[in-house]
């Protein structure tokens, strides 16, 4: 074991400039990759519970709401709700109808605004209940909207996608751009590791040859190289994790959250998940090229 660690250490020192190059490439590429993971999680959070399931939201009259079909100061009556539900369920364009009660809405609201002072002024009574409607064909929403919009007890009919799609389009482009860029950089990092290890193995080829002849196991021969590339990759991954933490702290908690409170923002648990992904990719990207690069010297 002492021999293995000494070899790994001397390998790292011998190729100091290459080691630095590997660390920096790993750092930048893994940060980009982790950023992509954060972006993907942010999109999911912003979509909320309903975005992927439904197209149309039918908001019902409540005491605090006003609308053409609402009695001022009154909730929609149970009879009205039943009539709306029946109208939706019998419509041939509708696939599924969900009912979201005030209590459900209040739970969502509390989650999104959990750290916000706004929460103190709100209560479950101020929430709006709604029918959430999934269409058979998302493009055919006009018929349903016109059939429902005029019913008594309906405060407003909203097509969720109309509001959120432009935002998500940009978020998605950003997500794929960072992940795509990071993949190229990660490839560069992997090639760099392969080259570094190949050079290290070449400079030690006499020793490796003798090790094979006297019966050292492949594992024993490869281990110093594995440790060498793993150390470089893990240092790069650790720096990338630090960068992700900085993004969460300085960009999201300090800037984004105070300025845009109506959506839920990614928290430390999401950052932790992205860090796990970053470390996993870093480990794989150091081991695979090392195994490939040393294979030639291990062939029996």
């Amino acid at each position: 074991m002492r021999h293995t660690l000494r070899e790994a250490w001397s390998g790292l020192r011998r190729n100091l400039t290459m080691t630095f190059a590997v660390i920096i490439t790993m750092w930048v590429s893994l940060t980009l990759f982790g950023g992509g993971l954060l972006g993907a999680q942010q999109v999911e959070l912003a979509k909320g519970r309903w975005y992927d399931k439904i197209e149309i939201s039918v908001f019902l009259c409540v005491k605090a709401s006003s609308g053409r079909n609402c009695e001022p100061g009154q909730d929609a009556t149970d009879a009205q709700k039943q009539a709306i539900r029946t109208a939706l369920e019998t419509n041939s364009e509708v696939e599924t109808v969900y009912y979201e009660s005030k209590a459900d809405t209040w739970e969502d609201f509390k989650r999104v605004y959990k750290d916000s002072p706004v929460l103190a002024d709100m209560s479950v009574d101020l929430m709006q209940d709604s029918f959430r409607v999934k269409l058979k064909d998302p493009e055919q929403y006009e018929g349903v909207v016109s059939a429902i919009a005029g019913l008594p007890g309906v405060q407003a009919v909203q097509d969720l996608r109309q509001y959120l799609n432009p935002l998500f389009q940009w978020l998605n482009i950003a997500k794929w751009a960072t992940i795509g860029l990071s993949l190229w950089l990660l490839l560069a990092a992997a090639l760099q590791i392969a080259t570094t290890i190949k050079m290290a193995a070449f400079s030690r080829r006499r020793e490796l040859g003798i090790m094979r002849l006297v019966g050292a196991s492949n594992w024993y021969i490869m281990l110093p190289f594995l440790i060498e590339s793993l150390v470089a990759a893990l240092v790069g991954a650790a720096l990338a994790c630090g960068s992700l933490a900085a993004i969460e702290k300085f960009l999201i908690i300090d800037r984004a959250q105070p300025s845009l409170k109506s959506i839920e923002w990614i928290g430390w648990s999401h950052v932790g998940l992205a860090m796990l992904g970053v470390v996993a990719v870093g480990v794989v990207l150091s081991i695979v090229p090392t195994v490939i690069a040393t294979r030639k010297y291990l062939r029996v």
Binding site: G209, I210, V214, G215, S217, N218, I221, V300
Partner: protein, 228 residues
């Protein structure tokens, strides 16, 4: 100890067989010369025993193992039972005599206590006591080959393979190396030595296996290098 059954070896991309249809058995404790000109297949024979290559046809048994069926991950185990010496010594230039020999035990995971005991013993056996801390470049060719033999023998292998061990040495030094190999053979170690040094073969009067263009043409106990 070593058995070849109708062994043919054709290297990739070549038409001519490096070894063709060779059958031979070498028993435990034998001393065998493998003779023939360059390119006759001597080195191929040794590399097949080491399982550096697999036979194209036929079967090879070494130390009770069928090499054709030996998994790659078991090859290190086979090689721990073999010692090898080459014409060009293959010592590590940055390491002392002691370190070069100890290296062979370190990399197969022998405990330090064993290494500290066995390495000086082996260096004494090959006649290198007092030179433990020299670097290979400070030694003569004969001394370097003794280091290589010590490294090959330090793990007490069942078989010692030597590929032209005297090829780079002058006749007087060669005799010393041969005495050492003979001494090792007397401990019960099987020795297979490839050579085209006729003087040595004629003096030692051991079993001689002759290869010509990859074919076994002579297998003679107490033989000489050539008939002429």
């Amino acid at each position: 100890m070593i058995t070849f059954e109708d062994v043919t070896k054709i290297y990739e991309g070549q038409r001519r067989a490096a070894l063709s249809d060779v059958s031979v058995t070498i028993d435990k404790g034998e001393f065998v010369f493998l003779v023939g000109s360059s390119g006759s297949g001597k080195s191929t024979f040794i590399r097949l025993v080491l399982r550096e290559y697999r036979a194209t046809k036929g079967r090879i048994f070494v130390a009770g193992k069928d090499l054709g069926r030996l998994h790659g991950w078991k090859v290190p185990g086979l090689r721990r039972q073999l010692g090898v010496v080459f014409q060009d010594f293959r010592l590590l230039p940055g390491k002392t005599v002691l370190e070069n020999v100890a290296f062979a035990l370190q990399v197969i995971g022998k405990p330090t206590a064993t290494i500290k005991r066995v390495v000086p013993e082996t260096l004494e056996l090959v006649g290198l006591n007092g030179k433990e801390n020299r670097l290979p470049e400070e030694l003569s060719g004969g001394e370097q080959q003794r280091v290589a033999i010590a490294r090959a023998f330090v793990n007490r292998p069942a078989i010692l393979l030597a590929d032209e061990p005297t090829g780079n040495l002058d006749p007087t030094t060669s005799i010393g190396i041969m005495k050492l190999l003979d001494q090792i053979n007397r401990t019960g170690t099987t020795v297979v030595m490839a050579t085209h040094d006729a003087t040595i073969v004629d003096q030692m009067r051991k079993r001689v296996i002759e290869l010509v263009d990859g074919e076994l043409v002579r297998d003679q106990s107490k033989g000489v290098y050539g008939y002429q």
